[in-house]
Amino acid sequence: MRETKEMSAFDIIGPIMIGPSSSHTAGAVFLGQIARAVLGQKPIRVEINLHGSFAKTAKGHGTDKALIGGLLNLSANNERIKKSFGLAKEEGLNYQFNTVDLGDVHPNSVQFSLWSEDKEAHVMGASLGGGAIEINNVQGRQVKFNGDYATLLIFGKNQPGTTNDVTGALVSNKINIAYMRVERLRHHKEAVMVFETDEPIPERGTKAIRALSWVEWVCQIDKIKR
């Protein structure tokens, strides 16, 4: 028998989105939303490096407006995306676009550097088509997640028991893990963890994880609202 994909009727009749392109507009909004979630607060300055097709056709597709719209936390079906440059001004967000060559990466790739008063974030990702996206670098660390689940990113000292600490905190908050990836970086000194969960992790859950002695950086990203 032929293998069939798991699909919803609303994957075919949907998403509801601002045009013109699911990859260059809707996907760009999602990338902007995730960059803001990594910063964890409202940005006041952002530098956006556009690569490949994103650089070439940004204006015609409204990719630039969509990225800013996402950084302002607008949803992908909010008609105000079209006016996001004006909204950015009102909300005190300074932005700059650059065209870059990031090498052998997906043609719809973008790199964000964003700042609030006391924080900064660096995020790189790509829009894969049909509104699907992938984040592949956060704060200079290689990661991989797609925003289809609530995502928890943790960077910290690499020592025995770290995974156990995190899964323990998730279990005690009744959070079910969909996927997890744990890697060691910087000569095995640093642990980089990505947990994708069915439910968003409540504040007290992330607080407990943040309090762990080996944890250096934590970020909770909501599931993309499609």
Partner: protein, 292 residues
Amino acid sequence: MFASLQELVKESEKTDKSLASMVIETEMVTSGKAEVDIRLQMQKRLEIMKESAQKALDKPVRSISGISGGSAHKLWHWLDKNEAITGSVMSRALARALSVNEVNAGMGCIVATPTAGSAGILPATLITLQESHHFSDDEIVDALFVASGIGMVIVNRANVSGAMGGCQAETGSAAAMAAGASVALLGGSPRQSMQAVGITLKNMLGLVCDPVAGLVEVPCVKRNAAGVAQAFVAIDLALAGIESIIPPDEVIDAMAHIGKVMDKNLKETGLGGLAATPTGKKLAENIWNERG
């Protein structure tokens, strides 16, 4: 169940269930939601479809790039004073298809059916049939579920992406979904619905995706009108009992194969076909340079 159109027909004949209720029941199982909520979710999409099908008729809508726009408004007002060769039903559907895609190109809100670039065909066809035949919203929602069932079979056997399969996979699939759903709406049998899918796709095989400057505008907007026309052709043929000599599932497989062997330049890269014409190149250059 969504592995083939034939399976859908067989299941429907065996269980004496409509195509729409089969799709809704499957959605209830996979989503865990009640029928009333699933129908409401589709009704919300129908409302956005109606808005986007009307918006560019009422006043001209220009694209973000500025290279296209205003066609839907032009046709709609021409129809006020002129008798369309395509008749009063189809011509109004053509205008609505243009409207949805102009709204899309102008960064307005649309429902991707199945993609943004082909979003005009299904809404334009169904909304116009609702107007001419006085169908209720509930009946149109049923038709939208039939369309999504057809779309799922196409995704399982081929794809609905211009970058993977060319325009045949986008506007071809959209038109096939519109034709199949319309036949069900107009009282045709499930078998006739699937014949309409096969006939539509057959007529759109080989259509390349060659957007000027890589934008969802030229030729996408007018190809949505063309998709509506193909759907109308197939609806009448299928309702008359005419069948595709090549079974509809095999037509979908042929589309998948053609998409695979189609040159990369003709699959949404903006490098071939209309995009590579002198005018296409000039328009692209103007847009790209403006970015600075």
